[in-house]
């Protein structure tokens, strides 16, 4: 299994993107990962204003939100014929569009990019469905190495209570019902999410995840996340490193980043 522990942030894992000058990238890339219903979006809603308060420009993005493929993925999930290789590649199309048209332009402009899920969720879902691990690792290998991957870890019972209390119903895809891991949605959810968590755990070391215990109350989880995020900026604000200050501010927003921001609004 490949090991990317020592890869420099904002380089690529295994395949360079055509036309990207990696030396231009200067923002920060922060990934929040973890299984369904673990509380990622709640935490991101807190982290974004906290970062902005500190003077950072923040782009938040997440899976299936691309201008290119977001809508198509949502429509495909309404049907009952989405195969697991097709689903994996569709999500990577969405990711590629956001990476090249939103994330990279933002990083070029010195923005902090906060992303809800990354390639690891796409990989975990594919591997949990029995797809070849080497295949998906190589296929997703054009992703940028983040400054931090904050893995919100919880066990299945925690997820169940969040689904029932927070959402009131089980979701077809979150329950892995496309492969019917159990006789009903609850049984399938339990088996599928257990598999997913095992796969996430197995990705933690090679991809350098910071494991955050998400079974604790959200405020405590938030404190841990803030501490991890603050470490990324260590040194950036020291007076001696004044020239590096601008690297965390959108000093020179490029045309394409502005275009991406406008496109997201529409």
């Amino acid at each position: 299994m490949p090991d990317y522990k020592d890869r420099k942030p904002l380089s690529y894992y295994s395949t360079a993107l055509p036309g990207v000058d990696y030396s231009e990238l200067q923002g920060k890339l922060i990934v929040i990962e973890g299984p369904d219903a673990v509380g990622r979006s709640t935490q991101i809603r807190g982290l974004k204003p906290w970062l902005e308060e500190a003077g950072h420009a923040v782009l938040d993005t997440g899976m299936a939100r691309s201008a290119l493929a977001g809508k198509g993925i949502k429509e495909a999930k309404q049907g009952n014929t989405l195969g697991s290789i097709t689903m994996t590649l569709y999500y990577l199309t969405d990711f590629a569009d956001r990476l090249e048209n939103e994330i990279i332009p933002a990083l070029r402009a010195g923005v902090v990019v906060l992303t809800d899920r990354y390639i690891y969720s796409v990989m975990a879902r594919a591997i949990a469905r029995g797809e070849n691990r080497a295949w998906i690792e190589k296929t997703a290998g054009f992703a940028l190495v983040p400054h931090a991957v904050l893995y919100l870890r919880a066990d299945v019972p925690d997820l169940i209570s969040r689904v029932v209390v927070g959402r009131g119903a089980f979701d077809f895809w979150e329950s892995g019902m496309d492969l019917r891991f159990g006789r009903n949605m609850f049984d399938s959810f339990v088996r599928y999410q257990s598999r997913l968590i095992r796969v996430f755990d197995s990705l933690a070391a090679p991809y350098n995840f910071q494991v955050i215990d998400a079974t604790r109350p959200p405020v405590e989880v938030f404190e841990s996340l803030k501490a991890s995020v603050a470490r990324i900026f260590d040194g950036d604000d020291k007076p001696a490193a004044g020239d590096r200050r601008k690297s965390v501010r959108p000093a020179h927003p490029s045309g394409s980043f502005r275009a991406a921001a406008i496109r997201r609004k529409s």
Binding site: L17, E75, G79, L89, T93
Partner: protein, 237 residues
């Protein structure tokens, strides 16, 4: 590296490849028809035709949103959908599946767009290995003459306009197709293509294809491969 997954049948997979204007679509249509008349159950699958990703591809093309990487991935998604939902089940059922373009199209085009060779070849590792892959070999000028004479408007990505090769769409198309042609030529031996001389008459190309099919499949239908008689026998049983 193993490119594809072996087709464990009982069906048979036949693919045709070549640059635009090489005449491959005409030939695979004639071959399908002939196979049907010989009693085979024949299915057909065309590049970039999955209804699942159709809208996304259309949006991307209309708004010219694709990068080489997302262009490559959306075509792989389209291919995966047809593979998982259509081609694999039909081959397992014993049909002859005829595909107009296959993974080799991505290998050639994506390479010209500057995508990493090992990366794109890895993506298609899930594809089944064709039982027969025909390559329609044609000089660039002949193919260009057929395309540029016949249709009125070239499309943006079809002409490789995203590569900035030329501001003139026809000139861009020439350069783009020429590079794709070179990629195909370099794959002939590696991929074991059956080369068809696409400058010959339609009739003689078809004759050659049928000769190859008979040689590879045998004169009588191989066991397990579905056909009309078998269906009829079932109906009367």
């Amino acid at each position: 590296m193993q490119f594809f997954v072996p087709n464990r049948g009982p069906g048979r997979l036949i693919v045709v490849e070549g640059i635009d204007g090489s005449g491959k679509s005409t030939q695979i249509a004639l071959l399908s028809q002939w196979l049907r008349l010989r009693g085979y159950a024949v299915a057909f699958s065309e590049w970039n035709s999955s209804p699942l990703v159709h809208e996304t591809t259309r949006r991307g093309k209309r708004k010219e949103m694709f990068t080489p990487t997302s262009f490559s991935l959306i075509h792989a998604t389209d291919f995966a959908d047809r593979m998982e939902r259509y081609i694999i089940p039909l081959l397992k059922a014993g049909a002859v599946v005829c595909a107009d373009r296959y993974a080799y199209t991505a290998f050639a085009r994506d390479m010209v767009r500057g995508v990493d060779r090992a990366w794109v070849r890895n993506i298609y590792r899930f594809a089944l290995k064709p039982d027969l892959a025909f390559y329609f070999k044609v000089p660039l000028e002949v193919a260009l003459g057929r395309i540029l004479g016949g249709r009125n408007a070239l499309k943006y990505y079809e002409a490789g306009m995203d590569l900035g090769l030329s501001r003139n769409i026809e000139e861009s198309f020439r350069i783009f197709q020429g590079r794709i042609l070179a990629e195909y030529e370099s794959m002939i031996e590696e991929m074991g293509f059956h080369v068809i001389d696409a400058t010959k008459s339609i009739e003689s190309q078809q004759k050659e294809m049928r000769r190859v099919v008979l040689r590879e499949f045998g004169v009588t239908r191989p066991p397990g491969v579905l056909g009309v008689e078998l269906n009829a026998a079932r109906l009367h049983a």
